[in-house]
């Protein structure tokens, strides 16, 4: 583990040196106060996928604070609330929230209050309390009620390891280099992720960069999934054929022994 960490660090350092070297020699160096990149632009979900981490690293042209926000592909999500129905607990009420990011992580180099004014936090949706979660149907619930459902969503997503915020998780080195580790658990959704990197100076955005990266299923599992969803009929027939063959094979083997 240590060894891998050192290795990564060295790779990152080399990459950074290269970036900085390029930056200082190129003519547009002064126009780019912020440069960032990821160690990996593709997280592949294979049959042995148990989660993955990606290193985000970069450099700035001077002092400032770094805030990063990662958002996964959005989906509509039903938040359901259980109530007692006789002796049993059943889903009684639900609110559909629109365009809910399947993954969200915020990391900053210092506590947000010291870096970003509140109105910017909500404008850029920085922090778990500032993710924009609108109901699909405005009439479904009162505002107070809606907040309860929103908080429940954030809490559940956090429990699943899909939502997180961490102050101080971005390491700044000599006010020039920064790095942070992004972790994606096994239940991460596939699709395009956007990493927003903000450089804040004096409570304003000095520079920003958006890095896309992809989480996708690779190999046999991806093929099976696609096949099952695109060709349900054929998939079902193949599954049955496989089952019949296995059953027949078992019966034949059973008779012989």
């Amino acid at each position: 583990m240590m060894k891998r960490g050192c290795h990564l660090l060295r790779r990152m350092a080399i990459a950074l040196l290269a970036t900085v070297a390029l930056g200082t020699t190129s003519a547009t160096a002064d126009d780019v106060p912020l440069v960032a990149d990821l160690s990996n632009h593709l997280v592949a979900i294979t049959s042995r996928f148990t989660g993955a981490s990606v290193l985000l690293f970069g450099a700035t042209d001077g002092t400032g604070d770094i805030v990063i926000v990662i958002r996964g592909p959005v989906k509509d999500v039903d938040v359901r609330y259980k109530q007692r129905f006789g002796p049993i607990w059943v889903n009684a009420r639900s609110v559909t929230l629109r365009d809910v990011p399947s993954y969200y992580r915020m990391a900053s180099s210092r506590p947000l209050a010291e870096i970003v004014p509140n109105e910017l936090l909500s404008r850029y949706q920085i922090g778990l309390n500032n993710i924009r979660l609108n109901p699909a149907n405005e009439k479904t619930a009162t505002t107070a009620d809606l907040d309860v459902f929103r908080q429940a969503l954030v809490r559940l997503k956090t429990d699943e390891g899909l939502y997180s915020e961490e102050l101080g998780a971005v390491n700044l080195m000599s006010n020039r280099l920064f790095r942070t580790e992004l972790y994606f658990p096994a239940n991460v959704a596939t699709g395009t992720y956007l990493v927003e990197v903000y450089l804040f100076r004096d409570g304003a955005v000095a520079s920003a960069q958006i890095l896309p990266f992809t989480v996708s299923k690779i190999g046999v599992d991806a093929d099976i999934y696609d096949f099952a969803h695109n060709f349900g009929l054929v998939y079902g027939m193949l599954a049955i054929a496989a089952a019949i063959a296995a059953g027949y094979g078992a019966s034949v083997a059973f008779r012989r022994t």
Binding site: D78, W89, A228, I240
Partner: protein, 306 residues
């Protein structure tokens, strides 16, 4: 070692799944039951989404039924005509069942329906088996005789139209009866992910009055078609059949069943049934507690429209 299930979209420990498949196979060989009614709840316990557990289980039932029916066919214990009538009822029932499943899934009630269905049926089956076999074990005396509705006794059922002769079963009854039995079991199978053998077998003996030796083979025969139909419909409309999971369970299940069948000779019939009854009741109790105990979190998330 973890393996990723492409349809369930989760990683599971491969040895856990193999142990589960092997264990249930062992039980099915040992006790002569399909094992589907134990498999689905256990899959749910290890974290497989209930919908996927049900769809996948149907696929596995196809394999074990084919394997079983071939053995019974060689012994001449399959009533093809009865099987056909049951199957027609079963087809209609399981098609309706998949539709019901889809509606419940959309409403968000599928999990509670599956769990509730299991509590009721496992409770009844386990309770009945315990009641029937416990006296035999405790007294070491003769097992309690089962009082079946013998052929020749006339009830309202014999006044129904569309009479048919079932030669293997030595019956002359209305085709509506096996149709209805197949229909009801078909619905249960699709919604709960069971072959329905544990409901079908008593229904065939006590309701239809079929001779016991023909019952198991015939029940297995119709189970193949109903389970295949369920698999197909689940695959088309709900995409909840995980072939990776099904194959893992199936391969070890077959081996387990053989070992189980051999072990069965070393125990007394009533002892086996008491053990099975206790296990069935334990699963039912665990599921019942999940329904009744206040959930740790009243909120839950589900992808919309899925």
């Amino acid at each position: 070692m973890q393996i990723y299930l492409p349809i369930a979209e989760m990683s599971v420990n491969i040895f856990l799944v193999l142990a589960l498949g092997g264990g249930i196979g062992l039980l099915s060989g040992l006790f002569g039951v399909g094992g589907g009614f134990m498999m689905t709840p256990l899959l749910i316990f290890i974290g497989v989404p209930p919908a996927v557990a049900v769809g996948t289980q149907a696929n596995q039932i196809v394999a074990s039924s084919v394997s079983g029916v071939l053995v019974h066919m060689r012994r001449g214990n399959v009533d093809l005509k009865m099987g056909a009538v049951l199957t027609i009822g079963g087809f209609v029932g399981s098609s309706l069942g998949v539709w019901v499943f889809n509606v419940l899934k959309r409403l968000g009630h599928i999990d509670v329906t599956i769990a509730f269905g299991y509590v009721v049926f496992l409770g009844i089956v386990g309770g009945f088996m315990l009641y029937e076999s416990l006296p035999g074990v405790l007294n070491k005396g003769a097992p309690m005789p089962l009082t079946a509705r013998g052929p020749g006794r006339h009830t309202w059922m014999h006044g129904l139209p569309f009479k048919m002769r079932f030669r293997r079963s030595k019956l002359y009854i209305s085709a509506l009866l096996p149709l209805a039995v197949g229909f009801v079991v078909g619905i249960l199978g699709a919604v709960m992910g069971v072959g329905g053998g544990f409901i079908m077998v008593p229904a065939m003996i006590y309701l239809l009055g079929m001779p016991t030796q023909v019952v198991i083979g015939t029940s297995l025969l119709q189970t193949i078609f109903v389970a295949a139909n369920t698999t197909l419909l689940q695959a088309i409309f709900n995409q909840t059949v995980d072939v990776v999971l099904a194959l893992l369970l199936l391969v070890v299940g077959v081996v387990g069943a053989q070992v189980g069948a051999r072990l069965a000779g070393k125990f007394k019939g009533e002892q086996l049934r008491v053990m099975l009854a206790i296990m069935v009741l334990a699963v039912a109790l665990r599921l019942a507690l999940d329904l009744v105990i206040p959930p740790q979190d009243l909120f839950s998330l589900r992808e919309s429209g899925g």
